[in-house]
């Protein structure tokens, strides 16, 4: 029986789609800083942060996956163990939005069916160069049953919320008993009982789209 008070949890997230600022989002979330020029992600990179939900310490473990097509087969390996995913596109580049369907199909095909997916339109600070309307993002999210949000890794707007909302959604699913927390393949892990400072929930942020911040 799962008793949250005694547990530390970790959640895995994955990101998909290349060059839309996944790595910058992650950096903003984990280190609270923005790096305008970022190396192309090769394969995957790991990041982590502790958050509090309902007074419970939860560690988000985030795998930032390369969005480039060339790494697609590698990044697929990360879907299965993820509890959540952030699908990211760039609001200033329509092609990244158009690409979402492919990524979503891929993610759904290779992941746990309960995986929480959040759709993120990044670079909301670049209003003048916007190519994808907010309504379009909302419509897409509605159609596919995703949570939607626009963020800016640069100004940090909504970045916290994006990650934390995803984590909350996962947390709720855990509470409802949708996720079997004893199955590691779901991307959720209960920390050691006696070290309440070390909870971790695995969370995977998938990012679709292309183009770094």
């Amino acid at each position: 029986m799962f008793e949250i008070e005694q547990q530390n949890q970790s959640i895995h997230d994955c990101f998909f789609v290349s060059g839309v600022g996944k790595s910058c989002l992650l950096l903003q979330f984990t280190d609270k800083r923005f790096q305008p020029v970022h190396d192309l992600t090769i394969g995957v990179e790991f990041g982590a942060r502790m958050i509090t939900i309902d007074g419970k310490q939860i560690k988000l473990q985030i795998w930032d996956t390369a969005g480039q097509e060339a790494f697609r087969s590698i990044t697929r390996s990360y879907y299965r163990g993820a509890a959540g995913a952030l699908l990211v596109y760039d609001i200033t580049r329509r092609e990244t939005f158009n690409h979402l369907t492919t990524w979503l199909e891929d993610a759904r095909q290779h992941s746990n069916s309960n995986m929480v997916i959040m759709l993120i339109g990044n670079k909301s600070d670049l209003e003048t160069r916007r190519e994808v309307k907010k309504e379009e993002g909302e419509a897409f999210a509605h159609e596919h049953g995703l949570i939607f949000m626009e963020t800016s890794a640069k100004t940090a707007a909504n970045v916290e919320e994006a990650f934390i909302n995803t984590a909350k959604e996962i947390y709720e699913k855990i509470q409802e008993g949708v996720f079997d927390i004893n199955n590691e393949a779901n991307g959720i892990k209960i920390g050691p009982q006696h070290s309440p400072t070390n909870p971790s929930l695995p969370s995977n942020n998938p990012q679709p789209g292309g183009g770094c911040c």
Binding site: G43, V44, E45, S73, S77, K189
Partner: protein, 788 residues
């Protein structure tokens, strides 16, 4: 055993006709392969596989060459039959095995070839990537006789073609999960073989390493190690640690994950020391296990890792009590020397550049009576000629790491030597080092000199402080300054390594410290000695290096000269060099340092890389200093015909200018770093661009294709319409013609009718006339006629 098979084969194969020679091995293999391939009954194929398996060691070449396709076919088509699959996998294992079997026939044919037989067959087998998928699939079979040979086969494959197999596994999404699941198998042999396979699989491939880590490798491995009893466990624990080592080596992402996943603390049971009472505790396996765990720790805090990661791992290592446990091993009795050495190295890297950990280390006390600081105890070993070389090197490394970016520690060390110090006595670090310096033992002098020089790295204040240190060489004699004593030692010693050590210490001391330069120049014999050394034309082994170091020290005296010693001003030193040595010779000698075979390594690695005592020559920090100043020295001693003003200013650096210079250097260094960073980015963009370019080209190709298609379609469409129209037109024109014809006919008919009518009219008129004539005749005849 084999003969039995042969006999049973006879019945299977119908047997040789009586009187003819018995079939050769190759023939039997050929017939069996044929049966495997073509038999319609599963039992026959299974029997043939069983027979082939018995022959697959002795007739390895034949079985491999003829049977490969048939066996792959079995794996594919007979996968439901565990026994047959098991035989096929066993045969493939034997054929591709790394080892050469005793009973193997004609192996010598292949011994000449560069690649082994197993490797050649592996290559053939792996050409068909589907084959790997099949074998990976068999890992999911719970049946031992299928799962185990599949695992063994994969192990052979990774031995023979590691890169290729890694690439294939990388792109088959579930394969790593399947492998990880094997670690949960209750049959130990499978779990253990899976560990071996994972060790090879994770070697040198960052992407696989990350996926393996993502698939919960750390948890699984710790579970296995816990089951096996941590350090007291068998070789399985060592295998687990080897995988940890691979997963963490130069892999920042996994290092982060390891730290963030709180795995560091799970390492701590590895270092739990047995109680002093049970002295039995050091089997060779235990030594290996602990050495490997120490290696794992070092992977997290190696000097080459990103500072961010290193610092946070260092913090965790302290907060989880592992640093404490390591220091416990340092001070425990009965620890084998190789464990002790590696523990010291690990402690060194755990404290390197981390003020809190350095302070912790400073306060570790050895359980002696009275208790003495651990550092002192360690340094005692370093200056003790009887201790093993590796141990002494590791102590130097730990001391060096203790002083790295540690101004407080540096100051404390120098403080223990100053006359004002209350701690007069022989028990302090400073005194130990000076005693080692003066000991006259070759290596002790070298180690002590280098250790002392680390107290001066980038610390101008301590360079000046150290000038105040004086030594009483003999009872009642005038105290001699440490600097002076070093000069004397340099001239008196006849041991190369001692001299090299002292020269490196002096170079570190005098650089950026005009006061120290002045003191050295005031020593009457020093400059003549250096000049003679640099100018000497003959030399013995290693003396090229010595001469180069002397030249470097002279160069430092030129650069950081404040002209306060009248006999050796900058200018007069330059003249001395050009007249007594010659500039070319001087520069030539200077270059000997960086040309030395150990220079490159020493410059790259903070830890001394030592194979034997002769390799104890160049120190990392010194090499960094040399690299930074070499250019300045060359410039300073080269006469400047013009531009004296510019040159002169560079040589008259005051302390503030010096610090300015250092600041600029720092700036340049960071800019350098940025440039490199940007270059890298540029490269990546370039790659990105190229791929986009390719993408564009592809799109263009598609577009033009589409255009062609469009053209084609429109052409097709056109021909369709015209055809229809033409037939329409034809049809219409035909109709018109018909109409025309009809109308002509009508006209003709009309004309005929008209003519008929006319004829009739004429006829009528005629009749009329005739009637009138008959009327008249009737009237004339008297008949009454009605006139109409």
């Amino acid at each position: 055993m084999k003969m039995e098979y042969f006999k049973s084969l006879k019945s299977v194969l119908g047997g040789p006709t009586p009187g003819s020679a018995p079939p050769t091995g190759a023939e039997i293999v050929e017939r069996l392969v044929d049966r495997v391939k073509n038999s319609t009954l599963l039992e026959d194929r299974r029997d043939a596989c069983r027979a082939l398996k018995a022959l697959s060691k002795q007739y390895r070449v034949e079985v491999g060459a003829q049977g490969m396709d048939a066996l792959c076919q079995v794996l594919e088509l007979d996968r439901a039959d565990g026994e047959t699959v098991s035989y096929a996998l066993d045969i493939l294992c034997n054929v591709m095995s790394v080892e050469v079997f005793d009973e193997e026939e004609h192996p010598e044919v292949y011994q000449s070839s560069k690649t082994s037989l197993g490797e050649q067959f592996t290559e053939i087998f792996m050409k068909q990537t589907d084959n790997i998928g099949l074998v990976l699939g068999f890992l999911e079979e719970d049946d031992f006789q299928v799962r185990w040979p599949a695992l063994k086969l994969l192990t052979s494959l990774i031995h023979n073609r590691p890169r290729d197999l890694q690439e294939i596994i990388l792109v088959s999404p579930m394969s790593v999960s399947k492998l990880m699941d094997l670690l949960l198998d209750s049959r130990e042999v499978i779990r253990n073989d899976a560990l071996i396979l994972l060790t090879h699989l994770t070697k040198g491939n960052a992407n696989i390493q990350k996926i393996v880590a993502f698939e919960n490798a750390f948890d699984r491995l710790f579970d296995v190690m816990a089951d096996e009893g941590y350090a007291d466990g068998g070789i399985v624990v060592e295998d687990c640690l080897a995988i940890f080592h691979n997963l963490l080596k130069n892999n920042t992402s996994n290092q982060n994950f390891f730290k963030e996943g709180s795995y560091i603390q799970r390492l701590s049971p590895m270092f739990a020391l047995p109680n002093e009472s049970e002295e039995i505790g050091w089997s060779s396996q235990k030594v290996n296990n602990i050495l490997c765990s120490l290696q794992v720790i070092r992977m997290l805090v190696m000097p080459g890792n990103p500072t961010q990661v290193t610092l946070s791992c260092q913090r965790s290592l302290r907060s989880t009590g592992i640093l404490e446990a390591l220091c416990g091993i340092l001070m425990a009795s009965g620890v084998p020397v190789d464990v002790l050495t590696e523990t010291i190295n690990a402690v060194a890297e755990v404290i390197r550049g981390n003020p809190a950990n350095q302070e912790y280390f400073l306060n570790v006390m050895a359980p002696s009576k009275p208790p003495r600081p651990a550092i002192v105890v360690l340094l005692l070993s370093m200056v003790n000629e009887k201790q093993p070389l590796d141990l002494r090197c590791s102590v130097l490394y730990s001391f060096q790491c203790f002083l790295y970016k540690n101004e407080v520690g540096q100051a404390q060390l120098v403080q223990t030597l100053l006359p004002s110090s209350a701690e007069v006595g022989t028990g302090t670090t400073g005194h130990l080092l000076v005693a080692g310096l003066l000991s006259g033992h070759m290596l002790s002098t070298w180690f002590s000199a280098v250790a002392l020089s680390h107290a001066l790295v980038e610390n101008p204040a301590q360079k000046e402080q150290l000038l105040r240190v004086a030594l009483a060489t003999a009872p009642g004699a005038q105290p001699v300054s440490l600097l002076q004593q070093c000069c004397t030692l340099l001239q008196q010693s006849n041991k190369v390594q001692s001299k090299v050590g002292i020269l490196m210490l002096l170079a570190m001391w005098l650089s950026h410290c005009p006061l120290a330069v002045r003191d050295l120049l005031n020593s009457p014999t020093c400059i003549p000695y250096l000049t003679a050394q640099v100018g000497a034309s003959e030399h013995q082994e290693h003396e090229e290096l010595l001469q180069g170091l002397c030249a470097f020290l002279m160069g430092i005296c030129v650069i950081f000269n404040d002209d306060s010693v009248s006999s050796y001003t900058r200018e007069s030193l330059c003249q001395l060099i050009s007249k007594r040595v010659g500039q070319d010779v001087f520069l030539d000698k200077l270059s000997e340092v960086s040309k030395h075979e150990l220079y490159g390594k020493a410059h790259k690695h903070p830890q001394l890389q030592v194979i034997s005592a002769e390799h104890v020559l160049l120190d990392h920090e010194f090499c960094k200093l040399f690299k930074a100043l070499e250019g300045m020295v060359m410039k300073a001693v080269t006469p400047k015909e013009s531009g004296m003003h510019n040159g002169a200013t560079e040589l008259t650096l005051t302390a503030t200018e010096n610090s300015l210079l250092l600041q600029y250097k720092e700036l340049i260094r960071s800019q350098d770093h940025q440039i490199q960073e940007m270059r890298r980015q540029l490269q990546q963009y370039e790659i990105d661009r190229q791929s986009s370019q390719m993408h564009i080209e592809e799109l263009n190709a598609t577009v033009s294709q589409l255009r062609d298609q469009a053209r084609l379609l429109s052409a097709a469409a056109n021909t369709g319409v015209t055809g229809a129209l033409e037939t329409d037109v034809q049809r219409l024109s035909m109709t018109t013609e018909e109409e025309n014809k009809k109308s002509v006919e009508y006209e003709e008919e009309l004309y005929k009718l008209r003519k008929d009518q006319e004829d009739l009219l004429v006829l009528l008129a005629d009749q009329d006339l005739k009637i009138n004539t008959y009327k008249n005749r009737l009237q004339q005849l008297g008949e009454k006629v009605n006139t109409v």
